[in-house]
Symmetry: C2
Subunit: 205 residues, 2 copies
DNA sequence: CGTAGTTCTCTAACACCGTAAGAGGGAGAT
DNA sequence: ATCTCCCTCTTACGGTGTTAGAGAACTACG
């Protein structure tokens, strides 16, 4: 079975999932494919193009996960669901947000925006508002997941008391949000995303 | 004049500003300081710690640029100004957003959030709402500037017609926003940020 | 059948990277 | 005069992306 571009990309994504984006090197990837590193250059222009292709793959999954528009509203609720799907797709892969935010040349990013904006406009929203809303939602979500996926600091984690001393308001707010209540990180994103989109809800407890 | 940590960090930031984050290597940095690469290890633990220090430096500038709270509202308007200051500080340095989003261990990020949340709470906002709002604003802004600062694709830029064919809604909305009107990228950020924070305005034209 | 061409993988090498180990110079204190 | 601390040096290791070019295997053509 000969090597082809698809197998290279699949294995690259698997490698990133297992070891993280920083460990993706052409030599390691080649070894996993039982091949020498320069061989990859036959199937891929260079590493940067490989990274772009990975970003495309991740975005494809995100786009595929977006639910079809339904319901009645002006589409804000649908956009909210689309952002949930985007976040889920990014979380599906280790460093997913870094992959797509680092891509130099990925038209799939634009596809996501375009279909989102088109859907909103089709449902009656002003084009200018739609663009603004999609831009806000998309960049907010990427920034959010980027933070969620950022690895913890290298040294020993700072103690809870130290954090409480330096960030009293934040730690108390975090504590109030999670402890006792059965809320999860997913709920926090939902609340934040609804807020960013100007949607009601974010159900007070 | 002996080398010290401060001079190393200053020169590193200058190097990043001139050449971009990808070109920051210990050898190049050392050469600019008329020193050999391993010498830097006397002043800095390793490259990762250096990057964290750069992130701290950038965030310090952002924090310093935040205006003192004033006025009357519940603080949302002030937070909006704080986000503008954050964006401006990130734009001040090449790859500013990447620098702070890549930092593994920077407490200054937390300082920004903490003072923002404390300010909002002090002005009467519910702690939970304040946290959510600050989180939304901060991550939105970082995601936004990350996109603003991402370099153009390597090859020749795709033609306007190609873009219009693939992204009709988006290109039309962009055109409507900028052409003719005297609006700038700064205005677009302002509109988007106000939307994300639930502030009125984003003056319809 | 032979030969030419295409497709894929190989080896060898280059320049660069972060980083470790340890030698040594120079200044100040004992 | 020696000891000690601070700072810089040389040397080296294993890793990186990438290029150049040789060569094997297969296909198509005369």
């Amino acid at each position: 079975m000969p090597l082809n571009r698809e197998r290279v990309l699949d294995e690259a994504l698997r490698l990133v999932d297992e070891e993280g984006l920083d460990r993706l090197s052409l030599r390691i990837l080649a070894a996993r494919l039982n091949v020498q590193a320069p061989t990859l250059y036959w199937h891929v222009k260079n590493k940067s193009e490989l990274l772009d292709a990975l970003a495309d793959a991740v975005m494809d999954e995100a786009i595929a996960a977006v639910p079809p528009p339904a319901g009645v509203g002006d589409g804000r609720e649908w956009l909210f669901e689309a952002l949930r799907a985007l976040r889920a797709a990014l979380l599906q892969h280790r460093d997913g947000a870094r992959i797509i935010s680092g891509a130099r040349d990925s038209l799939r990013r634009g596809d996501f925006s375009e279909t989102a904006m088109a859907t909103l406009v089709q449902r009656g929203m002003d084009a200018r508002d739609a663009r603004l809303l999609v831009l806000v939602g998309e960049r907010f979500t990427v920034g959010w997941v980027l933070e969620e996926q950022s690895p913890p600091p290298e040294g020993p984690a700072p103690s809870v008391e130290q954090l409480r001393a330096r960030f009293p308001v934040a730690t108390r707010a975090i504590g109030d949000y999670f402890t006792g209540t059965g809320r999860t990180a997913d709920d926090l994103f939902d609340d934040a995303a609804r807020l960013a989109l100007g949607l009601p809800g974010a159900g007070r407890s």
